[in-house]
């Protein structure tokens, strides 16, 4: 008898404790916003998330699982936002009820390893680089490369193109550029996050490409600018649409970003590939965020917008430190306007809409 009297009380206390633990765990979970997708901007998103949480903001859990998987996840609504390097097709955005805006801008550079040659002083053109990846240009002392670089003692070393073995937004940006400037490349290979290159070897990830270029005599590869600078890689000049040879630099990337047709491009998918302008670097691209227009949980969706609003205003330091380019201020406001399409019931979720 005594036992049965004590037991329920103990059990009640235990149950209360369990409920309290569950409730607090639930609260902690609700404060965490989740995103998934592109790996290209992952360093920036991660740095932003650290700083935002450090200033008392919500925590962001971002999974760099690749653009394709990020789009799939936001279509299935398993995350609060998706991230993709390539803009999503307008029909797909409409059918899946998604709104798209750019978050940050990055650049892709070419890196080389040619014995006895200062790669930073080398001049190359898009058509030549395209021919290397087509297997049509095989030696570094080819007459076409020498004609661009008089006085440079180019060795008789085989050109060893290196590309990303994994599907990658970097590959998408790079092949979009090569397709724009090299017609045979466009017709035989084309642009995509993984393509069937006709020559060279594939290495996993940015780090793999950087390592393979460094390990291989005559290697040439393409990486995010941040990787090239952090690893002290030799990055040749490229000829832009205006015929100028430009060095990869944040200024040259920003010049491209400023001239992109942001106001007219549908869904803000403004191309910054091969833009005209004497100072423009030709391989620049924005990376995009996807939000559902009809969020299941409006509060979480608002928190995502608050995060990116904060990042646009205060995230400049992280962007600069990691060698990306921030969105121009006008483009940031354009992105905020797009958030007004996210609605709960009939009211916009974002506070900045009237």
């Amino acid at each position: 008898m005594k036992m049965s009297k004590i037991m329920p009380r103990r059990m009640a206390i235990g149950a209360l404790a369990a409920i309290a633990a569950l409730a607090s765990a639930g609260a902690a979970f609700a404060d965490e916003i989740t995103g998934a997708g592109a790996t290209f901007p992952q360093p920036v998103y991660t740095r932003w998330a650290e700083q935002y949480a450090g200033q008392g903001g919500d925590t962001l859990n971002y999974q760099g699982i690749g653009s394709g998987a990020g789009v799939t996840q936001i279509i299935n609504r398993t995350v609060d936002f998706g991230a993709s390097d390539a803009p999503v097709a307008p029909e797909r955005l409409a059918s899946q009820n998604l709104v798209q805006f750019p978050a940050v801008i990055g650049a892709v550079v070419v890196a080389v390893n040619i014995p006895g040659v200062d790669g930073n002083a080398l001049k190359l053109t898009g058509p030549l680089v395209g021919d290397m990846y087509l297997g049509r240009l095989r030696m570094w002392n080819d007459a076409r490369i020498r004609a661009l670089n008089p006085g440079v003692n180019l060795p008789a070393v085989a050109i060893a193109p290196v590309y990303r073995a994994d599907s990658s937004g970097t590959t998408n940006i790079f092949t979009t550029y090569l397709s724009a400037v090299n017609l045979p490349f466009n017709t035989t290979i084309g642009a995509g996050s993984s393509v069937s290159f006709r020559a060279g070897i594939g290495a996993p990830g940015n780090a793999g490409v950087a390592g393979a270029v460094r390990n291989t005599r005559g290697g040439i590869g393409y990486v995010e600018y941040a990787y090239a600078t952090e690893n002290n890689m030799q990055t040749p000049m490229l000829q832009n649409r205006s015929g100028q040879f430009v060095r990869p630099s944040v200024q040259a990337f920003a010049a491209s970003a400023a001239q992109a047709p942001w106001a007219t491009a549908p869904n803000m998918a403004a191309s910054m590939i091969n833009t005209a302008g004497a100072a423009n670097w030709p391989i620049v691209s924005a990376t995009y965020i996807l939000l559902p227009k009809n969020p299941a949980d409006a509060e979480r969706s608002r928190k995502v917008m608050q995060f990116f609003d904060w990042a646009f205003r205060s995230g400049q330091g992280a962007v600069d430190a990691l060698h990306y380019i921030p969105l121009p201020a006008a483009v940031q406001n354009q992105a905020r306007q797009r958030w007004c399409q996210v609605r709960s019931g009939n009211a916009p979720v974002w506070n900045g809409c009237h």
Partner: protein, 323 residues
């Protein structure tokens, strides 16, 4: 006929049958899971088989995500060729180690040496991959491959100069490619082949070997005349166990095979294996796309090939034991 204990005790009998049912369930879970994986792989990949035809999919070497055209020939050839190179290196080496450990090695060295070889199996495959990519590949590129090119330049191009498909040891010494993948795989399967071969050799009756030595046979003669004929089938089984592991190895191969979705045209050529192509392209394959179907179809092919290789290994090992 198995005797059932405590047959008369009703209570115990109930527990016994419950236990028996649980065991049946446990065994069935494995079989059902196996069958389910096979079915899922086939169903998810059937779009690729339907679009390109089973023969077409198996024999086309095109892998073009931009045009949505997929064929499995390049990764199938890459998988089989890298595994074959691995076997060609690891088989003699593994058998040599096994014979040394069972017959020639001083007794007190046997245990430490055996453990050292088995430790090779404990190294995670990603570590082999990184070692292969950062250490072995540059070494192959600067030392081994130029030496092979120089000394084997007399090998004729196959099938002929007008229609070249196979250049042996010609080609750019990039360091990563078919040969490097084979070497890394050889090191990875060596412990399996050595350990299984050692166990097989230990089953040779001592009486037979002593008989051979009593007749005045040398070690070599005992090996070739007595030991090998006695355990022949089982030795093949050991090799097939190693082959099964080599076929499915993913991470290490992805680092060193070069990841070019093309048929290799020589030992130095970069190519792809089924596992490496799936690992590389799976994350960005959209749900419902032909690319995803093609990757599932590749997984199905790898499953079937590995299944038959392992089944063959079991069969040979058992035959050897019965002989």
């Amino acid at each position: 006929m198995t005797a059932v204990p405590f047959e008369n005790s009703r209570k115990l009998h109930l527990g016994e049958s419950l236990f028996k049912i649980l065991l049946y369930v446990a065994a069935c879970v494995v079989l059902v899971t196996l069958a389910a994986i096979l079915i899922i792989l086939f169903v998810s990949g059937k779009d690729a088989f339907a679009r390109f035809g089973i023969v077409g999919f198996l024999t086309t070497d095109q892998w073009d995500p931009v045009r949505d055209l997929y064929g499995a020939a390049a990764p199938i050839v890459g998988t089989l060729a890298s595994a074959a190179i691995a076997l060609a290196i690891a088989w003699p080496l593994g058998f040599g180690i096994a014979y040394f450990l069972t017959e020639i090695c001083p007794r007190r060295l046997r245990a430490p040496l055996g453990i050292a070889i088995e430790l090779l199996a404990a190294i995670p495959s990603i570590v082999y991959g990184m070692w292969g990519f950062f250490i072995l590949a540059p070494f192959m590129s600067t030392s081994i491959e130029p030496w092979l090119t120089e000394n084997f330049s007399w090998l004729p191009v196959l099938p002929n100069d007008m229609n070249p498909l196979w250049f042996w040891f010609q080609g750019a010494p990039v360091g990563v490619g078919l040969l490097t993948a084979g070497v890394v795989l050889a090191i990875m399967i060596l412990p399996f082949i050595a350990a299984t071969s050692r166990d097989v050799l230990l089953t040779t009756p001592q009486l037979l070997k002593d008989g051979g030595y009593a007749m005045g046979a040398t070690r070599w003669e005992v090996l070739t005349g007595v030991v090998i004929p006695a355990v022949r089938g089982s030795l093949f089984g050991a090799v097939f166990l190693g082959l099964g592991r080599a076929l499915g190895e993913t991470m290490a191969v992805t680092f060193v095979i070069g990841n070019a979705n093309r048929l290799p045209d020589g030992f130095f050529a970069p190519t792809a294996s089924i596992a490496s192509i799936v690992a590389n392209t799976f994350p960005e394959a959209d749900a419902g796309s032909m690319k995803l179907a093609a990757l599932f179809a590749l997984g199905f092919i790898l499953f079937v090939v590995s299944f038959f290789v392992l089944a063959l290994a079991r069969l040979l090992l058992r035959q050897g034991r019965m002989a």
